[in-house]
Symmetry: C2
Subunit: 341 residues, 2 copies
């Protein structure tokens, strides 16, 4: 592991150092013959360019900063697929991923930009009123948010369209002749954090219920492990009418289905059930439930497309400042059909 430099490559190839650089960047035409000689020399030395030197001279790091929050909060199914997709996308663009935890708050952002650790930042787990957003907006590097804060401050945001998701759930229940809706809320830890999508979903659900003239109650907060109690509470709400249950917190779905089963309540027969979750989970669950799709991979892929477009606007088509992925409703058997009489 001798650690050769572009000077060594140049010497072996019998060209100047700048030619080596231009072969790598492709920023000026090189005769095929020279190019090949340089490439051979690189191969021979197993040359790798020094990223620090590159960043210094070229004022770009080829690194994407990723700010995530570990621990309590988001849905468990979520974080890993997000990170994975982002890592793959970065690699596809020949970029690295630098991981920063949300615990660092704005300081982490300032460090990423100030120390020139990355060319762009992608930030997840945005709160509705998030201190970091104005800081991010003032940074010298572009920032893409996964989530939509109350004030995006001009930043590009990508997320699932939780407003549309809520409307879809309410509409589905309204269209099939239900006369009451219960939304099973989030754990207190999630509620308190003021995560943007919680408010976006619940507000939209309430509004649409009003539009459709249906009473809607939110049971909240529902702690992890306390889903059985929520199930009880929910069943007392069933005043003889057709009750529809909507569960936006995907971690609560399976426990809740289990709790209902224990009470011999069959979704699709006794009550209706719609969950917000990836299609895969919904289809493989027992029983499979009608769901509204939440696909982390779609969201983070779009976020990365936006990010790379911001880094090189000529590279693709312009991206909208707020880019919402449309949810999809998949009917399985947990929503009672419209009564035929």
């Amino acid at each position: 592991m001798a650690a050769f430099t572009s000077k060594d490559v140049a010497r072996i190839a019998g060209v100047s150092q700048s030619t080596v650089s231009y072969v790598m960047t492709g920023k000026r035409p090189i005769s095929e013959r020279t190019r090949q000689r340089v490439l051979d020399a690189m191969e021979q030395l197993t040359y790798e360019p020094h990223s620090g030197a590159r960043a210094l001279a070229g004022r770009r790091t080829r690194v994407v900063g990723l700010v995530v929050r570990f621990g309590a909060g988001g849905d468990a199914f979520g974080l890993l697929p997000f990170i994975e997709t982002i890592a793959n996308s970065a690699r596809a663009h020949d970029h690295e991923v630098l991981l920063v935890t949300a615990d660092e708050g704005s300081a982490g952002l300032r460090r990423l930009a100030g120390r020139a650790l990355c060319d762009a930042i992608i930030m997840m787990d945005i709160e509705e009123h998030d201190d970091r957003v104005p800081v991010a907006a003032a940074l010298s590097v572009p920032v893409v948010l996964i989530g939509v804060p109350a004030d995006p401050a001009g930043l590009h945001c990508v997320d699932l369209d939780f407003e549309a998701a809520a409307r879809m759930a309410v509409d589905e229940l309204a269209d099939t002749g239900h006369d009451e809706i219960v939304v099973v809320g989030y754990p207190a830890s999630v509620m308190e954090r003021g995560l943007n999508y919680v408010g976006r979903f619940l507000r939209s659900a309430r509004r649409q219920a009003q539009v459709r003239g249906l009473p809607l109650t939110v049971i909240e907060p529902v702690e992890h492990g306390q889903e059985a109690a929520a199930a009880d509470q929910l069943l007392t709400r069933r005043t003889g009418g057709r009750l529809g249950v909507v569960v936006p917190h995907s971690d609560a779905i399976v426990p809740l289905l289990n709790a209902l089963r224990k009470q011999d309540v069959v979704p699709g027969r006794d009550i209706s059930f719609i969950g917000l979750s990836p299609d895969r989970e919904a289809g493989q669950s027992d029983p499979p439930y009608t769901n509204i799709s939440v696909e982390p991979r779609d969201v983070s892929r779009r976020a990365m497309e936006t990010l790379f477009w911001l880094l090189d606007p000529s590279s693709g088509v312009e991206r909208p400042p707020i880019d919402l992925v449309a949810p999809r409703l998949t009917r399985r058997t947990t929503v009672m059909p419209t009564p035929s009489n």
Copy 2:
């Protein structure tokens, strides 16, 4: 976001650029008065050192490379706590974390070291015979493995002591008068990957069963979602004697407990049950089960201690090349007590 340099800081503070550098690194004594002036100037300019320039001149990046495998394979509970702990530990040492996926194989390792992207590497999800291990051993930066391959090639390894864990499980069942042991194996995807700990656990379990003179069967592979079938298979094994079940794949534990319950088989009364999982999961499960602790945080914390010791051997006490975290057995109610007659 003006992007000031240490030259600016030097000018404002009325000192030379090298003095600014020495204030930051502490590599030579600075009078308190000068030091304060420099710190004030930095504060005033919100100065942040350029990491690329630093890496170039100082030949150290203050970055830790983290190689992880996403997707199928390891236990779901595992990856996130590992990453989180590593990120926190890195931060505590004023280091960044660069994330690389295992899909890149040895190329990722070569890139990390060749491009001087990091000072040290931590690599997870090691296979028993892993191509990357010899490559890692030849790198110009230290590498710490989480896991123990057949041939560590001189690299430092940190992991749970799966051999001891298997012995503990077998001993516990032997000591309480069982006369048969069934180990519920891993999904095929995990078996095929040849992950190091799978072999380490199963081999050790077999050996210890032999030592204790107990028949031991491994049901394998057990797919995710197929735990009910495994439960059936397991119950047919119950030839009237006292049967002990050991479940090393933590993802299978809860589904398996559910499957047993459906058959009205009560662990601790009808059969015995020991799972390998974090204590938290075991205690919060319904029912709580006797478990052997697998604590990702302990393992990754130790791995990071080793890594920073390798980066600066004078900083602490020497680390063993193979550092195994001792598992702990916590008895709950799922192992039948020794018959009293």
